[in-house]
Amino acid sequence: MTARFSYAAPTRRDELLSLLADSGAGARVLAGGTDLLGDVRSGLARPATVVDVKRVDGYADLVWSATDGLIIGPAVTINDVLSSPTVREAYPLLVACAQDLASHQIRNRATVVGNVANASPCADMSPALLCLRATVVLSSLNGSREIPVTEFFTGAKRTVVAPGELIERILIPPETANARGAYRKLKRIKGHDLGIVGVAAMSKDGALRLGISSCAATPLLVEGLSAQAPADEVVAAAHAVLSPISDVRCTKEYRTHMVGVYVRRALREVA
């Protein structure tokens, strides 16, 4: 990697927010680096400053409480999620999506927040977060705002994050804890690959929600379904929201077909 940039690693929140405010569009937030540094190397990102969030107090916290649900800080890695007994018990869907994300080395660095911020249509964590009714907390010097994940993505790799803002937390409410969850990811090989199609299914208290990735510019949520609904109906509901494309990885016909297949398989697990 030869493109130059300067690096800052604030240890306090106010320091971080000031830096972001001052640098504006020239700054990129560095968490795990597994998306950002790849983009810098390939020339897709050319930040003047890279601001490391990992040393800010409290940013590595992964906290669960019955009242507040799960709070995921920006430095919480995918492997932190996978190795947390609390998360494994309370949010099996989150774990299901996390465990097939890239490779072990990547999971040691990649963060949940980073996966969401990168906003790839193929992202592994987004389908789960959509199902789990997660909220994204955006903060800047001007204050904080909470955006439901359903309103966070505006297009492929595009979000509502404004200049000077960063994702400070992801909140998963206690209502979706202990839901049944399943995730199916279509890959080209059994080894690590990004998702060609991803289907997350969650059922709780008779309600069924689906999160689907790689079938539109943003991850998709299908809600308002009954966990008792016949599989055909659920598949039809899923198909109704898709707008897949054909690309070098897959054709839209197969994507559509496999969404149906994965919905049925996931249903068998969660219904």
């Binding site: 990697m1 030869t2 300067s6 690096y7 680096g33 540094l37 080395q105 990547i106 040691n108």
Partner: protein, 163 residues
Amino acid sequence: MRVSVTVNGHAFERDVEEHWTLLRFLRDGLGMTGSKEGCGAGECGACTVELNGKTVNSCLALAVEVDGGTIATVEGEADHGRLSEIQAAFARNHAVQCGFCTAGMVMSVRDLLRRNPKPTVEEIKDGIEGNFCRCTGYEQIVEAVLDASGQLDASSKGALKYV
């Protein structure tokens, strides 16, 4: 920027450019050329090192990020010329062909066995998923890991058959 790190038990303090990856710092800054660049993009694992107790692709970490950190690389695996159990098992089981993936592979195996001292074949394959090998086809590497973890026996040791 000044960076202080401990690598394989030795303390180093160096000035480094902010955009340098950890891999570049190890190779060009500290002369430890064991870790290799196979892709520079976090896919192949040839650059795998242990950072603060966890294996990472050093091509996707910055040197400046690891200030104050503890790093282990393949150069620290042997003890003054004495091969570790993992290295000896690799040698016995033909787990090394061209050798370019070997440094990263050894680091991943080391980490795997620390987390899971008696992994199954499936767990071994999952554990080294992030380390490409184009030469061996992985089977003899899996056998080396079984050997290093005291699990290689007649049923798990593959052998060339004679018709």
